[in-house]
Symmetry: C2
Subunit: 342 residues, 2 copies
């Protein structure tokens, strides 16, 4: 029996929404009907999917009434408003915003790591499933197999994050600045062209940014290690291909670097790209448009026992957002009965 689903994408005209639709097509997700949703401002805009044109609509309870799976990527406040309505109408919501991520009863899912948390003991999927923050996703894909084998004690991470993390506005702002156009107060707080800005999302009372605390809290939740030590510094760089992360990991148990390389190469969702002598290591310019998490610069921290350095890169719009959301949706296939068949 081949089940096909009615799939809504809320935020269909944004960078992540468009990428979600691309990935649904690429992965031949069994879409019975695509329902692109967007704000009043973008309503009516045409979206092409598998050679069919769909007009973007505004979200409503009626629309969600016929939806099986709803991918949300329209910001936290839109999610807070519409996810409960969509869920009440019987859609499974996969939400890319941070609105529900830390709710105890909402699974926060990276399929390679904790796909099993999508379902309750009776096999039913949660009505709202949260897609983690981009910088968290690419890191936990790598931390998971390492934690299973060596037990992670501590992570120190500094990020190099793409302007696409701020959506189309972030990308346009970089392009306009590079072109020397008049500088407005814009998406990145400070100019980003030819600059690096150690500030993503708002500052919290503890002098860390919300982005940094997402890396702490979400990593602990996804790995189910509430005491895991993660010390982050998140930084915006004038790049659009993906996020990079310089990661220092201390283990409970010692390791051989070659074993770590082999373990990662065998782990789902990871491509090891580590031939420094041939100038091969992951870079955002090469990870752009790809679904994997790339790891390189794997080397022992000779100055601290049982500790390793590595460099992790992924396309934040793909594995960091759209691809991960579609992978979650993939987990539902065969386990969620389409409304049309009920």
């Amino acid at each position: 029996m081949s089940q096909r689903y009615r799939v809504a994408v809320l935020g269909a005209t944004g960078l992540v929404g468009r990428t979600m639709i691309e990935v649904l097509a690429e992965q031949q997700f069994p879409v019975e009907e695509l329902i692109p949703l967007a704000s009043e401002r973008s309503a009516g805009q045409k979206i092409t999917f598998q050679d069919k044109e769909y007009a973007t609509q505004v979200p409503s309870a009626e629309v969600f009434g016929k939806v099986d799976i709803a991918l949300f990527s329209a910001g936290g406040s839109v999610s807070k408003e519409w996810a409960p309505i969509a869920a009440r109408e019987g859609a499974v919501v996969i939400d890319n915003s941070s609105a529900f991520r830390m709710e105890p009863n909402v699974p926060l899912v990276v399929p390679e790591v904790n796909a099993e948390t999508i379902f309750s003991t009776d096999g039913k999927p949660a009505s709202i499933i949260a897609n983690p923050n981009c910088s968290t996703i690419q890191m936990v894909v790598v931390l998971k197999p390492l934690h299973d084998k060596y037990t992670i004690k501590r992570v120190v991470v500094s990020t190099y994050q793409s302007v696409t993390g701020k959506g189309k506005k972030g990308l346009e702002a970089l392009e306009e600045e590079i072109a020397g156009k008049a500088q407005e107060k814009f998406e990145h707080v400070h100019p980003i062209a030819y600059n690096v800005v150690p500030h993503i999302d708002v500052f919290l009372g503890n002098d860390y940014t919300k982005e940094e605390m997402k890396m702490v809290n979400e990593t602990q939740k996804i790995l189910n290690q509430p005491d895991l030590k993660v010390s982050p510094t998140t930084v915006r760089v004038p790049v659009y291909g993906g996020h990079a992360e310089s990661v220092n990991i201390e283990f409970e148990h010692d390791f051989e670097v070659d074993d770590v390389r082999k373990l990662l190469a065998q782990s789902p969702g990871i491509l090891v790209n580590d031939h420094p002598g041939e100038n091969v290591y992951p870079m955002p310019i090469e990870c752009y448009g790809k679904d994997d998490v790339f790891v390189g610069r794997i080397r022992r921290d000779y100055w601290h026992p049982k500790t390793i350095n590595m460099w992790i890169v992924a396309d934040n719009l793909r594995k960091g957002a759209a691809t991960n959301a579609v992978q979650i949706a993939n987990c539902l296939i065969g386990k969620l009965t389409p409304k049309a068949l009920v």
Copy 2:
């Protein structure tokens, strides 16, 4: 008695050499005569200094015979060839290359940290004084007062380094790539526009780069702590204003964050720029052309005891190279008798 010196600048037409000449003028260094030196290719090029024009010459033993202080910034092989000759001819060489930095009898100097090592016990300056690597200098200026008060056990550092670290060619390569000009195999190994490249200088047998090992070895030497743990990842970013560093520091003794901020604000060569609530933190775009080391994002590492995170930025052509070299020269004033007076 006002002593004035004959000062040679070898590499006078390069980015660092030009900046050295600018800084000599700004700091009103007592220059009796400027002697700009460069390769055959650049010889004859005119350099303006304090309203006088000087023609660039090629280096020779004869020239160094009348020089009191020689600032070298023309690469390691040029330094290896000419520094011993200049020293033999009685000039004090301040060398910006890595050629002599780790020689046991060559002082490696950041004046705020270890100016006293310039002189032997009889008060004579060393004949060759090494200027440290740019990414090392800005870090040790900050580590020194912290180490004196709290004793540093371990440093994990990730850098965000300007293309000007590769000189004019690095800067031009970024500009040409941004302008969409044909990509040649160029200074940064890989494209740098819209990219970040975790590779500066060559890879060594231990899978760290030479740049990374400079941060380890030079920091240990300058702080006179041969066992200090420094775990570096050095990364090139499409920026020209300066180098930034995300630094995680573990101390022997505990601290109050406010005391750290005060201590750094009172320490020589440092400007604390740390008001995250007002979006104030150091950025390369603002440190460009400045001589200080800027520190911000100072915050406790809540996940590891006695550990702090901070963000350090400086103009790599200034404090990271030219300014530091001229500051070393400043230490010689009054302690080195000009040849003209001998």
